[in-house]
Amino acid sequence: MSVKRKAGVALDTGQVSVAQMAYLKQQSQHRKFVKAMRISIIIAFFFLWELAVRVGWIDGFIFSSPVRIWETMMSMGKDGSLWMHTGATLFETMISFFLTVLLGILTAVLLWCSDSAAEITEPFFVVLNSLPKSALAPLLIVWLGANQKTIIVAGMSVAIFGTILNLYTGFKESGSEKTRLIYTLGGKKHHVLTKVILPSNIPSIISIMKVDIGLCLVGVIIGEFMGARRGLGYLIIYSSQVFQLTRLIMAIVILCVIAMVLYGILNMVEKRVRR
């Protein structure tokens, strides 16, 4: 976690004292140190990996190596297959993510509106949430066919139930005092929703979104394992069957990058909202 603060936010006066300057300097040095350590660990890891393969400690055919991965990436980038697979996975993940968030908020609002509906359906959501969603993927393929629709649904299935449960809990817990205030100001239930529940839950909606983006990626990859002709999940399965482990590991590396970037984007959104 890198904590960034605006440097030199003065206390009361416009002046920044010497001790405060020293403190800020120490903090910024600490951040630099953390960043440098992270980068060195990655470099050291790749360097050791390459070295181990070159010296013969591990078998390059099975373990591949950073240089081989890089070369494969270059050649697949040139013939366009890299972009096709990555693009397909990204597209499916984004669609299932947006649908999950949309449907999740909508369902949670409906449950919030009707206490009995929430009470009746709660055990179903709990069961569906704990169910290993990979068990659903083969069924989805039979039902919906081996196409992108199935993969998007698989992605959603992993995230949606948890989203609904968490959002609903958040809605229920937000301020009964504030709710009472709205009623005394002459408001109705929909005012409580739009003036209190939704605005006060924006931080929790965003943190649920941060979890969802990762879960959707998991679901999409599971879906692609099962029935896809493109996408990184397909690339992983196909490469393992034809024993092209360099491609397989490359796909994993790309997945790491995707996960990092998507999470980073949501982090930025969160910071902007929280100001």
């Binding site: 301020g175 005092e177 504030k178 009472r180 205030l181 709205i182 009623y183 005394t184 100001l185 002459g186 408001g187 005012h191 003036k195 209190v196 605005p199 006060s200 924006i202």
Partner: protein, 255 residues
């Protein structure tokens, strides 16, 4: 002439799976227009239940609550200004947005009402903070904003539900002074619910003492101080303050 507000033999019973709890039993009192009445009593005695009944959030199990001689619910123009425990300002709105929340909900954001909101905010030193977030304001300023939020709706009656309980003691004294003067200046009728006896004596014209649950009115104590321009702070130093305090204290002890 009927009283401004009258509670006549009001009862209220809560129901739960473990049985029923009688919270209020034969509560009767009146409030005159422009009067400041405080309700004190042991904790959990049903003070907040009375407020909920007056707000119309709960319906009395027996008895009736009359406003100018007619049941509360029959008055379309009867409007309660509720000042909750803690200020309950919304952090995601700026001060102006908080003050006009009620107008927005009631779709009364007319030019006239906005001008009134502005006038109140200017008068009580909040206009320059209109774009600020609640967290940027001091405790006292936040209470003012919370009060103005109810005043812009031109309420018939103000209900203060331990409004200062979240403040530290020092702030509490000054804020009570401040809020009292605003209420008097705007000629509002107010009911204050509190467990702080000295707060009740210093602010109210009349103190209603409730018994333990199920609550009844044990006694009414009228507090008059010989001074011009009464303020809660000055009242605390007046002759008679201690006597009133002790009188209420004894009634609460003896039950």
């Amino acid at each position: 002439m009927p009283s401004f507000l009258e509670c006549r033999d009001v009862e209220y019973t809560y129901h739960s799976l473990n049985g029923e709890t009688k919270a209020l039993k034969h509560i009767s009192f009146t409030v005159d227009e422009g009067e400041f009445v405080a309700i004190v009593g042991p904790s959990g005695c049903g003070k907040t239940t009375i407020l909920s009944l007056l707000c119309g959030q709960l319906a009395e199990s027996a008895g009736e609550i009359l406003f100018r001689g007619k049941p509360l619910r029959d008055h379309m123009d009867f409007h309660i200004g509720y000042m909750p425990q803690q200020d309950q300002l919304f952090e995601w709105r700026n001060i102006y947005g908080n003050v006009t929340l009620g107008l927005e909900i009631q779709k009364k954001l007319t030019e006239e009402n906005q001008a009134y909101a502005r006038k109140l905010m200017e008068e009580y030193g909040l206009w320059e903070f209109r774009h600020a977030r609640p967290s940027q304001l001091s405790g006292g300023m936040r209470q003012r904003a919370a009060l103005i939020r109810t005043l812009v709706l031109r309420p018939s009656l103000l209900l203060l539900d331990e409004p200062f309980s979240a403040l530290d003691y020092q702030t509490r004294l000054t804020v009570a002074d401040d809020i009292y003067q605003i209420i008097k200046k705007e000629h509002k009728t107010a009911i204050l619910v509190t467990h702080d006896l000295s707060e009740a004596v210093s602010m109210a014209d009349r103190v209603l003492i409730l018994s333990k649950r199920p609550a009844t009115v044990l006694k009414e104590v009228e507090t008059t101080f010989e001074m011009e321009q009464r303020t809660p702070m000055k009242a605390r130093n007046m002759a008679g303050f201690k006597e009133y305090f002790n009188e209420i204290w004894e009634v609460l002890q003896c039950q």
